[in-house]
Chain length 380, copies 2
Amino acid sequence: MAPRFAFELSATDGRARRGTIRMRRGEIRTPAFMPVGTAATVKAMKPQAVRDTGADILLGNTYHLMLRPGDERIARLGGLHEFMKWERPILTDSGGFQVMSLSELTQQSEEGVAFKSHLDGSRHLLSPERSMEIQRNLDSDIVMAFDECTSWPVERDAAAASMHRSMRWAARSRAGFDSGEAHAAGATLFGIQQGSMFEDLRWESSHALQDIGFDGYAVGGLAVGEGQEQMFAVLDYAPELLPRDRPRYLMGVGKPDDLVGAVARGIDMFDCVLPTRSGRTGQAFTHDGPINIKNARFAEDRGPIDGDCRCAVCETFERAYLHHLVRSGEILGAMLMTEHNLSFYQQLMAGMRAAIEEARFGTFAAEFTTRYGRTKNGTG
Amino acid sequence: MAPRFAFELSATDGRARRGTIRMRRGEIRTPAFMPVGTAATVKAMKPQAVRDTGADILLGNTYHLMLRPGDERIARLGGLHEFMKWERPILTDSGGFQVMSLSELTQQSEEGVAFKSHLDGSRHLLSPERSMEIQRNLDSDIVMAFDECTSWPVERDAAAASMHRSMRWAARSRAGFDSGEAHAAGATLFGIQQGSMFEDLRWESSHALQDIGFDGYAVGGLAVGEGQEQMFAVLDYAPELLPRDRPRYLMGVGKPDDLVGAVARGIDMFDCVLPTRSGRTGQAFTHDGPINIKNARFAEDRGPIDGDCRCAVCETFERAYLHHLVRSGEILGAMLMTEHNLSFYQQLMAGMRAAIEEARFGTFAAEFTTRYGRTKNGTG
């Protein structure tokens, strides 16, 4: 029988780590990228096609699912895996970030966040206890603690107060999780480090979380508009404050070069809507940087999106056809662009994993970043 | 080497016919249903997935493709098959129907139809000669003659005048087709019978077309609002006016019970947007009639769309999940509904073909129609 939760580091190269998480529903090879399946679907992709890109785990959004179709309905239908026919692990966020960015008339208090649904105006409360209950109803494998999304930019005092509340909520999340049946069923709980751009607050948060105790730890409060340079400045120290023998998850990140730089700084897990969302609007990721397939220069371009990509889309379809589909608003355009982008991301993760195993991560990262960054310098 | 065009009838059962069309790009088993790939894509389906539903041939729309991405561009990109990566036969319509229903400021004359594009207001002319040129640029396998879409309801004199113009245009289509390279490349040309609901006009049109000579013949001017009863009344005699040794194509039809009734009356080929278009809005076809998956009664229904359907969607996903996806406007909902509907149509065609081969078409048709029609009587 598979363990409830085990994390094994099989290789390191500098700060970059190659590991494996083992859970009841399967293994997660790290560094791992988790496609976002907001509303019980990775948009424009069948679940088997998501797996075929190389994904070991998906992310589901607690906020969206509690509102539609409802976490209790999903529980009655056998849980999120059974509902959407994804058999492998699912990580669910706590809903804390989305409730502040998407809902209306939010009221925050020590208890939690009261809000009106962006779909129908109905009133709800999200709290550490309620978030644990929802994630249990979804039958999530990796449950995230409910925390407060610290705004950015922020003064030190406000960042400290927000972090302290998140740490109290982390303890309530732990208690709520432990009082339910999730643990017995094989799920696990991750805590989230906060502290914005302040190293001493990140240090304090890390110790508070470890006092509570979690199977994994996220670096929260980044990718909120601070830019890559400031994010990397935090990642130069923040992951190292967390236990070496637990996975480290950077929430909501990011662009391909963000992933490379974060792996170099000791991050093991990522999620981001970028490959799916930007694919639907025509942005394709390539080894030479992102391109907008709607650009007129692709109208009669018979090459693949990326000549070095091994995905089914690049093996079959030409840029000219994708240009036509996306320009025409065709669903097939969204499907193919999403499939390519997710495949590109998973190939990047596989490339980083192989490079760490073979102790050549530094070279891999430098070569990828140099080539990828060329378009920024105007040559793409 | 495959013949340019051959049609072989292997079985008949009453007026129902089981045949095979052989062309350079593959065989078409008849009775055949052609999914509509308007803008060089069967909406929400990869080409291989369309093939996997059982489709032998697609329909492409001349009007849409001439405007976007443009027939000359498609020719430069290797033709429509190469552009959209569908290797099997493609039938293209003449553009005559769409130009009247979709474009703006149309001006009809004996020469053809001048119009402004619905996309950008640019000015174009569609004529028999231009339609042949466009369909040649698309590298169509089955080219349709350019005809005038007779309005409905219509007086006899107007129907006769419209049919006579279509017959003059049929002769010009024949001449235009023969003067190009399409014939040499392996394409073929179909004529279109007109005459509205008037049997003597249908008779006259059929003879005019046969005097010109075509490899196949369409029954045009139906499915324009007249209803199934009147359509069947025309089909009681119209197909029999056409040569027995050539395929007969009923354009723009139809609902599953329309197909069964038309095959019973000697039709060999169909196209219709219904399974694709209605799938995207939540209508699913089942052996017990159509259902709207958005209906609240499916919210927690764990059964497949159709328990007797053998498609990949029905094997995997539950009505409750499809209900959620379509209600949420998720692309995956459109994808799965379309795949099911096209599979349902192709299974129906395969069932009719087998029934004709085994001389039990009458029983098959009666059983299908009785069960399918139950929802109309309020039991579904």
